[in-house]
Amino acid sequence: MMEKMIFGRYVPADSTVHKMDPRSKLLIIFLFVCIIFLANNWITYALIGVYTFYMLGMSRIPVRFLYGGLKPVLWLVLFTLILQLLFTKEGNLLVEWGPIKIYEEGVRQGVFISLRFFFLILMTSLLTLTTSPIEITDGLETLLNPLKKIHFPVHEMALMMSISLRFIPTLMQETDKIMKAQMARGVEFSSGPFKERIKAVIPLLIPLFVSSFKRAEELAVAMEARGYRGGEGRTKYRQLSWKAADTLQLVVLAILTILLFLLRA
């Protein structure tokens, strides 16, 4: 539980993808989500598939982690496939079985759309599986830097994000402590009728909110005592470094994009 809270779905490993700069990974995922819509025939979908599995292979993420993350969405993929099969009525009739009629176009559409769906989920989970939350925050901060021009508080946002990530385990411990304290007094949290459970939440939440206010205030005092004065001129503890591998992966993606343009129907 604790681990899940701190790292999210991040799986530490020693791989090329893990070592890449978070900025390049964010860029690649963003571009991938855009170019996947270029695919519209078998060969382009095959290309996207090869690319997805190439990235997955490089990341050395064990299959069971991928499966764990995918499980809840697999039925949705299946559901879209079935919907497409049943309701697309174009092309030649392939199967007729009572009221169920399956058309050629339905099969084509169904397979394409579920494949797109599947590859998208694999690639977006790859980002959070191979990049720690704090790295993503740093990456987003640098990528969003231009937004400072329109007075979007990029620095404050990244700072708040880091504080939040830091405080999740702390507050989790706090919650655990309060829950145990209330359980010792006889409160039942996970059994009984719904109404009773809601009632049991109140003596948990009120101390939790009060202590959160206290922690936030202490943090603000501590920040000011150390001279926090906002974003201007602050230096960073974690430095991002753009390596040759990052450029290489962007080039690979660019080649994929060009191929997609050439081969799409």
Partner: protein
């Protein structure tokens, strides 16, 4: 000096309450209040957003909501199927909950005047507005999602309205009850004390 002081407090409070909002989703899981595994749940994650919205005004609410969406994305628990759906469901949907803060000054004044009935009413209207806007976002994203993946001509709007309604209505009711109970326990906290 005053201005700066409360700015740091604003940053730290919004950050801590974002963490709390994220955590409450997990707590809801432990308490087995979570019934919709495929996206959407009766969650009390909106409570900290409302709290920040009433304490710091619209800005606090919007920021807490936006950061909550970002946090779910960064930790990899966001279910993103298409770009548009992802942006609506996680960034816009939680951000708009912060619009509850439109009524922040009314809530604060009523607390100052110690009129409980009055601030409870404003809190409820605010919570309703925030939840309704979030509901609207989820409905739209449902239509967008199915528009992209389902065959044309299905009554997706009705389905999306119903599916999202089944968790948003109980979420609103439970969040509203909890926010009122929490705020009655510490009404003074809703007013940012002037620092000197």
């Amino acid at each position: 000096m005053n201005q700066k002081r409360s700015n740091t407090l604003f940053i730290s409070e919004v950050a801590v309450f974002t963490a709390l909002a994220y955590l409450l989703d997990f707590v809801a899981g432990i308490l087995s209040l979570k019934i919709w595994p495929q996206g959407g749940s009766i969650s009390i994650a909106m409570v900290p957003i409302f709290l920040m919205a009433y304490r710091w005004g619209i800005k606090g609410g919007l920021l807490t909501g936006f950061l909550l969406g970002l946090l779910q994305f960064i930790l990899g628990f966001a279910q993103i199927y298409t770009i548009v759906q992802g942006i609506i469901d996680y960034f816009i949907a939680f951000t708009v909950v912060g619009f509850a803060g439109i009524f922040a000054s009314q809530v604060r004044n009523a607390i100052d005047e110690q009129k409980k009935g009055k601030w409870v009413a404003y809190v409820l209207i605010g919570a309703f507005l925030g939840s309704a806007l979030r509901y609207l976002c989820h409905v739209v994203s449902g239509i967008v999602f199915f528009g992209e993946y389902a065959p044309k001509g299905q009554p997706v709007a009705v389905y999306s309205l119903l599916y999202n309604g089944t968790f948003m209505l109980p979420s609103f009711i439970i969040s509203a009850i909890i926010i009122i109970l929490v705020m009655s326990a510490m009404p003074k906290k809703m007013v940012v004390q002037k620092m000197r």
